[in-house]
Structures are given as C-alpha cells and as structure tokens.
Point group: C2
C-alpha cells in the first residue's frame, strides 16, 4: 500500500520550528475562541507545560499579539494575571475587483472592521492596468486608515470574479470583465510600491464563502455559498475547511451546463447556469430593453431596489421573473446539495438582495430535487453581508494567516532584549 | 465576531488524554509513512523529546502495534535498534451489501489483504434481515480467517448503496435495494452476537473513494470518484479529506436532475443522472429486452464481459450505446469538475469495466464543459480495484481509526506489568 494522502488525523510532518509556530498559533487561537485566561489555565487547557506556555506567551507579547489583561475574576486565592489578545496592532486587508466596483475592508485580530472603502466604476470597459490602478489608490487610503490607528497590514487578499491561479497571483480568465491572463498580484505589488506584506488573489465567491463561514450561520462549518452578480460563482466550506480544488478553480457553479440547447454564455458556451439565473437573465425577464431599470449607468443597488419596489407593489412581470429565476436557482442548488449535502446554502450577492422573493421557490425545488428526505437537512439562508462579503472574506483569510503562524508578524522588541526564554 | 468554525490550522481543543492519543497516532503514522527508525531519530523527526518518544513506543509495543526491528543500516558508531510497525496483529474489516452480492475484505496495519470473501445473491428481491444474515455468515468466516492468523478485528465498516445515516447506523433509503429505514448496524451486531469491535455503516461509493485515495492515483488528495452500478453514486476526497456532508449524504451524484423531461428514476423522480448513465441505461441502449446479455440471472461480470466482447468485435449498436453513456457521463463529470476542480476523476464500478470505451468521450466532454483551460487540470482515470473498491475502502477506514487513536487496540500486557514510563 502506498503512502495515503487521505487521512483522518493530523499530518505526520512536523519539525521543531513548525511545531513552535503551530503552538504559537494554538495559544493565540485558543485565546480568541475561549477568551482571556491566566498562563497556568492556558497550559492546562492546551496540555502543554507551564514553562512552554510562558515562553509562547512571551514571544506573542514581543510580536504585539497578546498582552497582560486584568486579574482573573472569581478566582480563589491570589488572583492570577490573565493573558488576552492584543487585537488592534495588526490587520488583515481584503480587496475586490468587481465588474461594478473596487472595494477594500480591513479587519483587526478581534474581527472588528478597521477600515472600509469602495469606489463604483465600470471595470468591464477598461484595461486591467487602469482598474488595478484605481484599486491601488483605494488601498493607499486604506493603509492610511490603518496607520492612523497605529495598525500594520499583515497581508492583502484580493478577490475577483473568474478563474484565479493563486500560485502565481494571476487572473486566468474572467469572462464578465473580459480579462484573460492578467497578473493582478504583480501589477498591484508594483503600483503599491513593493509593500512588505504578502499579496494573494482568490476568487471572490471563495472569499464570500469564508466571510459567511465566520459570520454566525447555523452549521457554519458546512456551507455552500451561491453568489450571484452578472456572473454566478460560489464557494464551498466542508467540515470547517474551504474546498479550493486541484488548481483552485472549485466553485465555478455558474458554468455548469444546465441546458445544452440554452442561451449563449459570456464564456462562449451554451446553457451555463448563469445564463439561467445571473442578473442579466433577471433583467431580461423583468423588463424591456428600454426600461430604466436596465439603463447601463444605473448602479447595482439602485437596480435591485427598483426590482424589489416593483415586486412589493405586486408587479406581475417582476414577480414572474423572480419566480423563474428562483426556479432555476433551486434546480441547480438541488444538484449541488445532492453532491455535497451542505448544512446551509447561503444565497449571496444579488440573490440575497432579492432573496425574500426567491427563497420559497428555492426551498421547494430543494425539497423536490434532493434524494434525501427533508432536503438532506440543507437549509437556505440569505447573506446579510451585502456586497461586502468578498472583501470581508479576504480580510478574514489574511487575519487567519496570523493564527496559523504568528511569526508572520515581526517582533516589536528585538529578540536579545525580549523576554523569550 | 463569533467563533469561526472555518479555519486553516489545527483545532484548539486539546487536553492531556487526547494529546497523548494524538501523539501515539503521530508515532504510528510516521512509522508507516517513513519506515522503521531508531527512537532518537523518531524523536528528532517529530520534534518531541526522547523520553516522550520512548514512553509512546513502549505503550504502542504493549498494544502490539510496534516492535523492535533490526539495527539501523548505515549508521556510524554503535547501530541503534529501530522501531517498526507490527502490522499483522490487528485488521480492519470492510463489508458490502450490494444489489448483486455481499462481500468482505480485511486489511492489516501494513495495508495487506488478510481475508477476502464474496457471495453472489439478488439482494433486491429479499428482506433486509435475510441479506444481512448472509453477510453475517460471510463475516463469521472472515473473522475465522483472522483468528487463523492470530489477528484481531479492530472495527467493521459496512458499505451499502443509498442514503446512510452514519450516526445511527441506519440505511435511510436505498431505491435500488427497495429498502428504507433499515437499522443495518443493529441487525448485524445482533446476528454477529454482539461483538467487541465497533460497527459502522457508510455509503459504498464514499468507501470506494477512500480506497481510490489510498491506491496510488496521481493527485490522490483531490479525487472525485464516480461509481456506477445499477445506481450511480460517488465520493469526494478534497485536500486529503473526505467530504461527507452535513448528514453524511454527500456524493449522491446519481440523483442530480440532468433532464427534467427525462426517464423515470428508481427514486420516483425524472431525469436523474443515473437514468442516463446507470447500467440499466447501457443495457437498454445496447440490447433488445430478450437479448441474453440482459438475462436477469446473468452475473454482473459476465454481462460486462459480453458488452466488452461485442465492442471489441466492432458491434455498432454496442459502440453507439457506450458512446451515448460516455457522453452523458462526461456532461455530468464536467458539472462536478466546475464545482469541485478535482485533480482526478476516477471512474469506478461498471464504468471502469467498460472504461476503455468511455474514457475518450468523457475527456472530450470535460474539455468542452469545464470553464478552466485544460479542464482545470482534471484528468480521468479508471479504477483498477474492480468491484472490491467499497470493501477495501471500508477496511481502510477501520484501519485508519487505529492510526487516529491507537488506544482502540487493547494492551496485550496489563499496564502495571508493562514498560510504560
């Protein structure tokens, strides 16, 4: 039998340095998830000896990630000093390149928003360098927001629609932007003046999925996010882990062929799911070409507000259009639920904005189309993150890198002067 | 921000006992994956101190899982005694309840086959108790095989088609067996006389996927298995972990609706993928109802041998039928590849048996239907495990439990007499 890469348990690969990093991360994550505690209790909770925990806490303190908190409340005898996360010094930054806007959002270690910015533009009509330049300007302002809080960026994670080659930071193909083979990370790195922090690129729906998974849905470890804008994409979190796929291309739900004789898609093929449920399809169904709701210069929110307004007034054509899209959405959702049995399907992006009109139809299709009784326990939820899901997810991924390996944050105190034992 | 269940890194939950178990498993797994080594080198490789490693090795020895091997080869100075896995004492047992047969297979800790048995029957025509009784008889013989090798079963994992509620060991629904709500684990436990080892139930295609992931495919950490018999199911291994879904119902690919106006499925709905690519569909396309290849009493292998024979002779109708099935298989495979971007799609069960006739067509559909260039890097492979994939996967899961927690195997030496420090 060859060495299996399939496994239940922890990786066998471990050496002293990676063990130290893993233990630093373990302490930091434990403090986040279970709150401040004295060193002795941390040691007991983690099954590590006290000297090791003191050394780990000292190193985290030197890196500005934890600090001494108050005395333990309710303790018997002499109260011990607690250790707590020092969340404000470092921030993860998320950014997004979208057909309709560029945006940024920074989260500190507590998960609080430290900065949020957005600029509307029509990216599809412009060369990549111009759009990336606008994002660089927005990011400069974001970094300024952080500097004013005395916080450092530890990483930038940029989301975009389309196929992303994460290894090289390249946008391989984005039909709705009309881009192909754009080295986003390199261009951004250059325009930002070669910053010290790492820059990663990911699919925007993958990042939206991370944001949903950190945002309090029930069964948040098993989430399927279906993200609709002009295109349709998605993200999968299964058993607490994001499924990225062999080359990072997982979640291209919008290009599943659901109707081989169907409409032509932006990708050049026919009958892709996004031709049935994408925003353009809803607009085609709901309004004539010269209807103001389809005016090219109308913002996305204004467009959806108008759709919602008409639906609330009982406009027949709008309601039929929403039902039709909900029907198509439910059929695809049921296929994905048969394949993946998620705990919850989160409708995000434009699907969430008009979600109250779609949800019942989607639930009915799930009940009918999933083999398991009760739709396999899969529920339907609407994202409450609006169009910030991708930037929030990007920032969360950047923050998570600190919990994976706290040594990505430099020491404020040189090692020889520090208290590291 | 609420506690995220999404995470990159190791779980924060750890206590002394679970840490000890994890370390026992770490040593055992490391010996399997990297071969015998002296204690000192094990300690260095694992970043643990020597006393800890000696204590762990002593406990694993007392449980009969490791033993002293030869002296280290090529060592400078006095050669140190190596520690190696003692693989033969414990076995994981896999079993399968299939429409056409019941079967068992036992693997020792080395992954070598210790017993393999199979009984053809027509399960669909019989009450669950009868079929499970036949399996119990087969298992008694299997356990006898193990006893003759002086090996103990550490666990039994039973695969079946259909929806399995793993938590209760119940087969919730198996359309092709005509069973619903059958407490397979409880019935088997009773018929086996309440054995000491645990009994688990899982979907057969999930187990087939485990078998493929431990069987030397390239990119074996990112495998999608599409398993065809009368029904069609599958299993997903992503990033080295099996995706089971919220209630364990992931992988029901066969019931994705691919043609709402299509044929009636065994599940009662229309146009499920298995109505397009299941074995019955191939037989419908390839032969008239009175053709001997469709005789009800013909064994599965004999049926497929005949199909292969006709195809090899260039029989037009057979070749057209195989192309048609390959086409449908490729369309669904492309949908799954867009969603999951696996490294390899393994065609298993009957798809593998007639795979040489399907493969080119499936690859062409993947190239056409996947958004990413080069089908996102997804290749197509044929299983070489034949119809033993599910039993082999069940046995592998049972064995893996030992690596997750070696304390599931009792000590041969009572603790007070042992060498545990």
């Amino acid at each position: 039998m060859s060495t299996p890469s399939w496994q239940h348990g922890p990786s066998a690969a471990a050496d002293q340095t990676s063990l130290r990093r893993a233990n630093l991360g373990l302490v930091l994550r434990n403090l986040r998830d279970r709150g401040p505690r004295p060193r002795a209790r941390l040691a007991a909770d983690l099954g590590l000896n006290k000297a090791t925990v003191s050394s780990l806490v000292a190193e985290l303190t030197a890196r500005g990630l934890v600090q001494d908190g108050g005395a333990e409340r309710g303790a018997v005898g002499r109260p011990a000093t607690t250790v707590e996360i020092d969340g404000r010094r470092v921030c993860g930054v998320g950014a997004e390149i979208n057909v309709h806007h560029v945006a940024t959002l920074a989260l500190d270690l507590h998960g609080d928003v430290a900065s949020q910015r957005r600029l509307s533009l029509d990216a599809a009509g412009q060369p990549p360098e111009v759009v990336i330049g606008r994002l660089a300007t927005l990011l400069a302002a974001t970094m300024n927001d952080l500097a004013e809080r005395d916080a450092l960026p530890v990483g930038l994670v940029v989301g975009s629609a389309g196929l992303i080659d994460s290894a090289t930071g390249t946008l391989a193909l984005a039909p709705n932007l009309g881009w192909r083979g754009v080295p986003v990370a390199a261009l951004l790195r250059e325009q930002l003046g070669e910053p010290a922090y790492p820059i990663e690129i990911d699919n925007e729906a993958n990042l939206a999925a991370v944001a949903e998974a950190t945002h309090g849905h029930p069964h948040q470890g098993d989430i399927l996010v279906i993200h609709g804008e002009v295109g349709v994409g998605g993200g999968i979190i299964a058993d607490g882990r994001q499924i990225r796929g062999h080359r990072g291309y997982a979640g291209e739900f919008g290009h599943m062929t659901v109707d081989a004789q169907g409409r032509r898609c932006g990708c050049g093929r026919r009958g892709c799911w996004e031709t049935v449920v994408g925003l353009s399809r809803l607009l085609d169904l709901a309004a004539d070409p010269d209807d103001p709701v389809r005016a090219p210069n109308l913002g996305l929110e204004a467009r959806l507000d108008e759709i919602n307004r008409r639906a609330a007034l009982g406009d027949d054509r709008t309601l039929v259009a929403l039902r039709e899209v909900g029907h198509g959405l439910g059929i695809g959702a049921a296929m994905l639920a048969n394949a993946l049995n998620p705990g919850v399907i989160v409708l995000s992006g434009y699907f969430a904005e008009v979600g109250p009109w779609l949800r019942d139809v989607v639930e009915a299709e799930l009940a009918a189309g999933v083999l398991a009784a009760d739709a396999g326990g899969t529920t339907v939820a609407l994202s409450t993150l609006g169009f910030t899901a991708a930037v929030r997810g990007g920032a969360a991924v950047a923050v998570e890198h600190v919990f994976d390996d706290p040594t990505v944050v430099d020491r404020r105190v040189p090692e020889e002067l520090g208290v590291i034992s």
